[in-house]
Structures are given as structure tokens and as C-alpha cells.
């Protein structure tokens, strides 16, 4: 065995820099979580019952995730709407108060610097949630564009708040029980406020698992109390390992894997979240040009037919030849795992457009072993 050197994904990258800790770090240690570096943070990858048990809990009842490492920015003031229109791909003026929208932060070529959620929490107030590992790049990109305007303020609330996601078929029932029924008044993709277990909280009815649930933002000093209240109410502690499996089963992309600054929203199949008509959208012109031509490659979902698990970085080949070679290489795997819910190896990857139709047979080169796979429609799992 050679476990240490072969652990997959960036979660295992060793780092010499000081890792940041969320306010729930000690709680994870108390629960005997296995901690790994992720996006500059020391985060739980799993708890003692293991990733499969955690995935099953979220699919069958409810799980909680510490997502405090994700960047949280508040934009406030009469110019907030305009500035968010310029840096994100969301149609911000059309976003009604109390609603959220998935979007991309794209560079001047339409490449995806990050994917994000923007919520209008009040007429002139917005919450922007970005990926932990991209926070520095995002800020570097955003900051020069802010200088031109003075009619808004931007504050980073990542440290002063914590964010806990509760996901699964019983998540609503649990949060309702802790909010005297206030939670169920917040519908899908909306955001509102309520006291959860007596803690003043912002609740977004969104998530990254394919299940119903909430992402709850509370003051840092109340996070442990909220975590324990949700756990005591029946939600299972879940780590990043389960979160990665759940999002992949739900067909949701991960920035850094499936989305990068070298990919654009259209080839990723998310053109519907790339609104480019805002007059001041920085990536607008590039996105419009990309929208008007057929992408050369497309992000597809595939399921293994033969025995093997797809992993990020493995090459994808066309089917039908006797062997895999550079001449029949048609793409690369960007995410892959064993899905406990589907009970098969599943993955996402970019392939040349002519090979991207549902039902197309592929061959994945699993470290020298060719294994057959088939393109399927995503999501791999849809809640009933």
C-alpha cells in the first residue's frame, strides 16, 4: 500500500502554509473527524462512520456540513446591484429581494474564475458566497473593479460568521422544529431570516447535494451551539468527502475540477447561468461571443460499465478500437468517484463535441487498464 502518496484530489495536497481553522474546528476534533487541508483550511473530510454512511444519511434523513470556509461577502448600498452585475454572470437587476441565483465570476475571456451564489437579502443588500480556495483570486479580480464606484460598501464576513449546511429529506422538518415553523416559509432558492434554536440566523434554502435543505449563516460565536442543536435534532455530521460524492451524484460541478479559468460556462453546459446582457458586465462581450458559437468540447456525465472507478485526470478515449492511444483520446475526466447511491463508478469530463451525445460509449484509461463507460444524462441521482 502507498496511501499517503496516492490520496486523490487537492484535499490531500500537503502545504507548509498555516492552515486556517473554522470556528467549528474543535467540535470536529471532539467528534474524531479526519481532517485534511482544503482551500487553505483544515477541514473534516469524514467522521468515524465513514463517507458512505454520511452519504446515506443525507439521502435518507439529514446531514450537516461545516461550510464556514466558503467566502462570504456583503455588498450594500444603491450601487451594489450595478457592481454585482459587472462582476457576476447573474441578471442581478431581475433578482427579487429574498431570492438567490447561481452564477459565474468570469474573466475577460469568459473563463470561469469561480462559481458563486448571489442572494438579494434586502432591496440594496446582497450576500455573495464564493469558494474557499478561490477567495484570493476572486478578490484580486473584483477589487480593481470596485474602485470606480463609491455608492456601495463591500464587507468580508467570512471570519465574523459561520455557515452550516443541513441537507436531506428531513432537513426542513428539523429546521422547522428549531424555528417554530419559520423555515418552511422560505421556499427553494430563497433566503430569509429566523431564529434557529434561539440564534439569529440568515437561512438560504439552497445546497450542494441534490437534496432539500438550508445553508445557515450565524455569528461565529453561536456556531457551535447551532451545530450541536442540529446534531441533537437528528442530523448526522458529514465531511467534505461525502459532500463531494453528493454533489457529483447530483450533477453539480466543482470549481477547480469541472470548472476552471480555462473552461467557460457554455462548454460546461451551464449557459443558462451566464447572463451577459448587463451593459456593464465585464465578461459580457466574451460570454456573448462564446454563446454564439458551438463549443468544441462539452462537459458530460458518464457511468462505468466495466469494473473501475473514474478519477480526475484520467484520459477518455473513443470506443471501438482495440487499444487506447493518443490517436483515440477524446477528453479527460474532471471528477469521478464510486457512487454509493447509484452503486457504480460515475464521473464528469470534457469530451469533443461529436462524442458528447447521451448513450455514447467511452473508454476510460484507468492507470493503464481500459474500462468501458457510457455517457448518461445528469443528474445521476434525482430526489423523489
Amino acid at each position: 500500500m502507498g496511501i499517503e502518496e496516492k490520496l486523490l484530489s487537492d484535499e490531500a495536497q500537503s502545504t507548509t502554509e498555516q492552515l486556517k481553522k473554522t470556528v467549528l474546528h474543535a467540535t470536529h476534533v471532539e467528534s474524531n473527524a479526519k481532517l485534511v487541508p482544503f482551500g487553505g483550511w483544515d477541514m473534516p473530510v469524514q467522521y468515524p462512520d465513514g463517507i458512505i454512511a454520511e452519504v446515506k444519511a443525507v439521502r435518507n434523513s439529514a446531514g450537516i456540513f461545516d461550510v464556514s470556509h466558503m467566502g462570504r461577502l456583503i455588498f450594500e448600498g444603491p450601487g451594489a446591484e450595478t457592481i454585482l452585475s459587472s462582476i457576476t454572470s447573474a441578471n442581478v437587476p431581475a433578482l427579487k429581494s429574498g431570492r438567490g441565483k447561481y452564477n459565474f465570476i468570469c474573466n475577460g475571456s469568459g473563463g470561469i474564475i469561480d462559481d458563486a451564489m448571489v442572494y438579494r437579502t434586502d432591496e440594496e443588500k446582497f450576500l455573495l458566497v464564493i469558494n474557499a480556495g478561490n477567495t484570493d483570486e476572486d478578490m484580486e479580480w473584483i477589487t480593481p473593479h470596485l474602485a470606480a464606484r463609491t455608492d456601495f460598501t463591500m464587507s468580508v464576513i467570512t471570519d465574523e460568521t459561520a455557515m452550516i449546511a443541513i441537507q436531506g429529506p428531513t432537513a426542513l422538518e428539523i429546521v422547522d422544529s428549531l424555528t417554530n415553523g419559520e423555515a418552511s416559509k422560505i421556499r427553494r432558492f430563497r433566503i430569509g431570516s429566523a431564529d434557529v434554536a434561539g440564534i439569529p440566523a440568515t437561512l438560504a434554502r439552497t445546497g450542494y447535494t441534490g437534496e432539500d435543505g438550508f445553508e445557515i449563516v450565524v455569528p461565529s460565536e453561536q456556531a457551535v451551539k447551532l451545530w450541536k442543536a442540529l446534531r441533537d435534532a437528528g442530523a448526522k455530521e458529514c465531511g467534505l468527502g461525502a459532500r463531494d460524492v453528493l454533489r457529483l451524484e447530483a450533477g453539480l460541478p466543482l470549481h477547480g475540477n469541472d470548472l476552471t479559468s480555462d473552461t467557460n460556462p457554455f462548454e460546461a453546459g451551464f449557459g443558462r447561468f451566464a447572463y451577459y446582457e448587463a451593459p456593464n458586465c465585464i465578461a459580457g462581450f466574451a460570454l456573448q461571443q462564446l454563446a454564439e458559437k458551438e463549443p468544441e468540447r462539452l462537459l458530460v456525465g458518464f457511468k462505468m460499465i466495466g469494473r473501475g472507478i473514474p478519477r480526475a485526470g484520467l484520459n477518455i478515449h473513443s470506443s471501438g478500437d482495440d487499444s487506447v492511444s493518443e490517436s483515440n483520446r477524446i477528453g479527460v475526466v474532471t471528477s469521478g468517484t464510486h457512487s454509493p447511491t447509484v452503486d457504480a463508478g460515475i464521473g464528469m469530463g470534457y469530451v469533443e463535441r461529436k462524442y458528447a451525445a447521451t448513450g455514447t460509449k467511452l473508454v476510460i484509461d484507468v492507470r493503464g487498464r481500459p474500462v468501458e463507460a457510457e455517457i448518461v444524462d445528469m443528474p445521476f441521482y434525482k430526489r423523489g
Binding site: M1, I3, K6, L8, Q46, I51, G241, T337, R367
Partner: protein, 124 residues
Amino acid sequence: MYPEELKYSKEHEWVRMNGNIAEVGVTVFAQESLGDVVFVDLPEEGSDVEQFAKFGEIESVKAVSDLFSPVGGKIVEVNSAATDAPEVVNEEPYGSGWLIKVELTDTAQLDELMDAATYQATLE
């Protein structure tokens, strides 16, 4: 955690001798480090393996790891229960989660392996 009657390799495999047949599997440390085992790839019965050479792969939800044989010889049996239901490696790593049986070419190979106490000391 680390039975006295077994021999261990630094790559976290164990060996149980029955005559000149060595039963091989992975240790509790290995299966706990990996997490939920979801895939095991083993060689054909009848093939040969050299001591400390790669003989297969084991994968958990998040990790891939090579399997190295602590002994060399002819692989006389592979455990299809482990390839069919890999969770058995987590559940009974020293029992029904064994991986291969090797007919030893030379029992002196065993001198290159560790006893339980020595192996356990390498984990601390």
C-alpha cells in the same frame, strides 16, 4: 488490532502461513487510512508475483492505493468475495477480507517481514 501470529510489511500488508501457502491481506491501519473500500482489483489465479512487487489496486471513495505482495511466489487463489463486495476488507481485514494466497518460493522471505510489535511501532 495486529494479531501476533501474522507477519507484516511496511506497506501495511499482512501474511498468515499455512504450510507453504501464505494468505495475504491489508492491515487495520491500511483499511482505516483508506476509509470505505469500494473497489479491489486482483490478479489472475496462477500468475506469479515477486516479493514486494505490485499485485493489485485497492480504492476507497476518495483514494487509490497499490497493493504490494509481502511475499513472492505463485498466486494459487484470489478472494472473489473481496472483489465482489469490497466492504469485507473494512469489516474483516484479517479474516474474510483476505486478498490472495501465494505458494511460497522460499520461506526465507518471511525474515524480511515484521512481527506484530515491530510493525505496530512503525505506526507510532
